[in-house]
């Protein structure tokens, strides 16, 4: 072991000078197996990856804070101003619905049917509350609920179709356009039947929407199943 004659200490075999007084140390034949006492590099601190369940719980807490803080504020302001809860009830209903929309995928994860049913239930609840806040209820059962049912069915159909197809691309956009067309027809029928008092299955403005949407949807389907089969877009436009 090399030795510093000034400090009287033995030093590392690889040291060329004394680490204490910096005096040079005579080189000795080195042991090729010898490792330095410490690594010669510093490592960055490893990134902490929290478990999914922990992050999900944290996200729920954070979203609750984001939605319930303004909820509390508007309730207090309304009560202080008018001595009762008036307009703030609408805001509170909207905030509670927004909170439910945002936390449902976090709480009911990976169960698509449960998520869809939860969304439908929350939306129905929101519409029911709005109808009842305004005075005697009159539009929820006749208009709100049927439109919501149409929306839920159309959305489910589009999602299922998008999941079922093997090659995904322009056909998804086509399914969305077709879904919009069907939804508009459904809304038109419900409104015509309940508000305008028309006979059942009367189609008005929604026919124009459907006619406008069908050509682009057809083009997109042709693009997907007609042209795309012959041209490999993935190869030509890969990033």
């Amino acid at each position: 072991m090399p030795y510093c004659s000034h400090c009287g200490v033995e030093v590392d075999p690889k040291a060329r000078s004394c680490p204490l007084c910096l005096a040079p140390i005579q080189a000795l034949p080195r042991d090729p197996e010898a490792m330095p006492e410490y690594a010669q590099v510093d490592y960055k601190e490893a990134r902490v990856r929290l478990p999914v369940e922990y992050r999900r719980r944290f996200a729920v807490y954070l979203l609750s804070l984001v939605f319930f803080t303004p909820l509390l504020v508007v309730l207090v302001i309304d009560f202080v101003q008018s001595g009762t809860l008036d307009w703030s009830r609408y805001v509170a209903a909207a905030l509670l619905t927004g909170w439910a929309y945002s936390v449902i995928p976090l709480l009911v994860r990976r169960r698509v049917v449960a998520i869809v049913l939860s969304y439908v239930a929350v939306s129905a609840g929101f519409l029911w509350v709005l109808d009842h806040l305004h005075g005697p209820p009159w539009w929820f059962y006749s208009v709100g609920l049927p439109i919501l049912a149409v929306l839920a069915v159309v959305c489910c159909a589009v999602v299922v179709a998008a999941l079922k197809v093997k090659r995904k691309g322009a056909n998804i956009a086509a399914f969305v356009l077709l879904g919009i067309a069907v939804f508009c027809i459904g809304v038109d029928i419900v409104i015509a039947a309940n508000i305008r008092g028309a006979a059942a299955l009367t189609i008005g403005w929604s026919a124009i929407v459907a006619v406008a949407l069908l050509p682009p949807a057809g083009f997109l389907l042709y693009l997907q199943y007609g042209i795309a089969r012959r041209i490999d877009f993935r190869r030509r436009f890969h990033v």
Partner: protein, 439 residues
């Protein structure tokens, strides 16, 4: 059965800690947690150097076993409204490579970040603990358990673990208690506060750099030299340290403030406690260089009598009073943590750390089961970095060798130089190694 005492659960689960468990910080940790910063990492290290290179996968398996036994270390630091608290850490602690600069680069306040690290390099297994989590005693207990578990993974079952905690043994609820609060006597007087001490005048190295210099000295001559003077190894090394600081201070000019060395004391030796969290206090040895130069024998006598005067149960109760009275202060308790953080950090860094020139911490001699005696080369103990004192010293013994390690945040190695030269003059050889190579 499961019960909670301030959130502490004693029930074991798969991870060791039950989900949702939380722990109050102990009295000492309440000062360390707000002080955390890039330089005040509060991390200290206990390490064991084996005779063969470490097998990382076996070490990871041993670590997984150990963490179930020590759930109070499987935590991360979370901010409460009034105080910080420890919460069960949902991540798994992984063995990491050992870098050139130990006890640095750690974001201890980050969510999911452990307050301990297990690192390995070549033949060395190192455990770095934040002082917010435990003291040297707790860290050494953990390292010994980890070492024995690792040895079992590699070489088979150890028959007799002796005083070392077995990873599958039952946990004692007292291991999580805050012994400071248990031994605190409200009407005891607090000790007289010390004045500011002299500090090394050098500029700090950039954050992230920590110079380590360890000297391996034979235990026989050291014990003989201490015994010849009627003292212990601890008295002797503290005296040599004071001598080195005196030589440094004299070379750097005539200091107007005293050279004061803090000696941490394991309070478990004076009060019955089985806690694995912090339970230590500090006593000090002071040299006022305005009185003139002190010879080594003078310093030794001063250290000898000072330590014996300080180290008794009654005097240590006054130290407990000083530590706990602030925590119990009703005004301080209701101050929000964000404000308290700044206040406590200032008091800790400027006032408490400002009262000592340097510290020397001695963990004593480590004993291991007979199966491991031949597998271990030596133990190492590194002190936590301190930008105020700039240098600290830590001592640990194993077998017939004692390792004296200095950790400093300055470039100049004047204190180590005088320390090992003094040892040499007293007839004790040293073999030193550093983390900067000395090239």
């Amino acid at each position: 059965m499961r019960y909670r005492t301030g959130g502490m659960s004693t029930q074991a689960s798969v991870s060791g800690a039950a989900p949702g468990d939380w722990y109050r910080l102990d009295n000492a940790a309440k000062a360390f947690a707000p002080a955390l910063s890039r330089r005040y990492t509060t991390l200290f290290r206990v390490a064991v150097v084996l005779n063969k290179p470490v097998r990382v996968h076996d070490l990871q398996r041993a670590l997984d076993r150990c963490m179930k036994r020590f759930p109070y270390y499987q935590v991360h630091l979370r901010p409460g409204f009034f105080w910080y608290y420890f919460e069960e850490n949902p991540t798994t602690l992984r063995v990491r490579p050992d870098p050139q600069n130990p006890c640095m680069r750690h974001s201890l306040r980050r969510r999911g970040s452990y307050l301990l690290r297990v690192r390995c390099y070549h033949c060395r297994i190192s455990v770095e603990f934040s002082h917010a989590l435990t003291d040297g005693f707790g860290a050494l207990q953990f390292l010994n358990t980890l070492l024995c578990a690792y040895h079992e993974e590699v070489h088979g079952v150890i028959q007799d673990w002796g005083s070392i905690i077995h990873p599958e043994s039952a946990r004692d609820p007292q291991e999580t208690e805050d012994s400071f609060l248990r031994e605190y006597v409200p009407h005891a007087p607090a000790p007289v506060s010390a004045s500011g001490a002299w500090h090394l005048p050098y500029r700090l190295l950039p954050a992230g750099i920590y110079r380590v210099c360890s000297g391996v000295v034979p235990a026989g001559p050291l014990r003989a030299a201490a015994k010849e003077r009627g003292g212990t190894v601890n008295d002797f090394l503290t005296a040599v340290y004071c001598m080195a600081l005196q030589s440094s201070a004299e070379r750097l000019g005539n200091p107007k403030r005293p050279v004061r060395v803090f000696v941490p004391v394991n309070l478990r030796a004076f009060f019955p406690s089985r806690t694995m969290r912090n339970f230590f206090s500090v006593v000090s040895v002071e040299l006022d260089l305005r009185l003139g130069h002190f010879e080594f024998e003078e310093i030794f006598r001063l250290v000898f009598y000072r330590l014996r005067l300080e180290l008794n149960e009654k005097n240590l109760r006054t130290h407990l009073k000083r530590n706990v009275k602030n925590e119990r202060n009703p005004v301080l308790r209701v101050v929000p943590r964000t404000i308290k953080d700044r206040l406590v950090a200032f008091v800790y860094k400027r006032v408490a750390e400002g009262m000592n020139t340097a510290s020397i911490s001695n963990l004593g001699r480590v004993s291991l089961p007979s199966e491991l005696e031949g597998a271990v080369d030596r133990y190492e103990f590194l002190p936590p970095p301190s930008p105020m004192t700039k240098i600290n010293c830590a001592v640990i013994g194993f077998g017939d060798e004692i390792v004296i390690s200095f950790g400093r945040m300055i470039e100049n190695s004047i204190v180590e130089m005088y320390f090992f030269r003094t040892l040499r003059e007293l007839g004790i050889p040293a073999r030193i190694h550093t983390n900067w190579g000395g090239d």
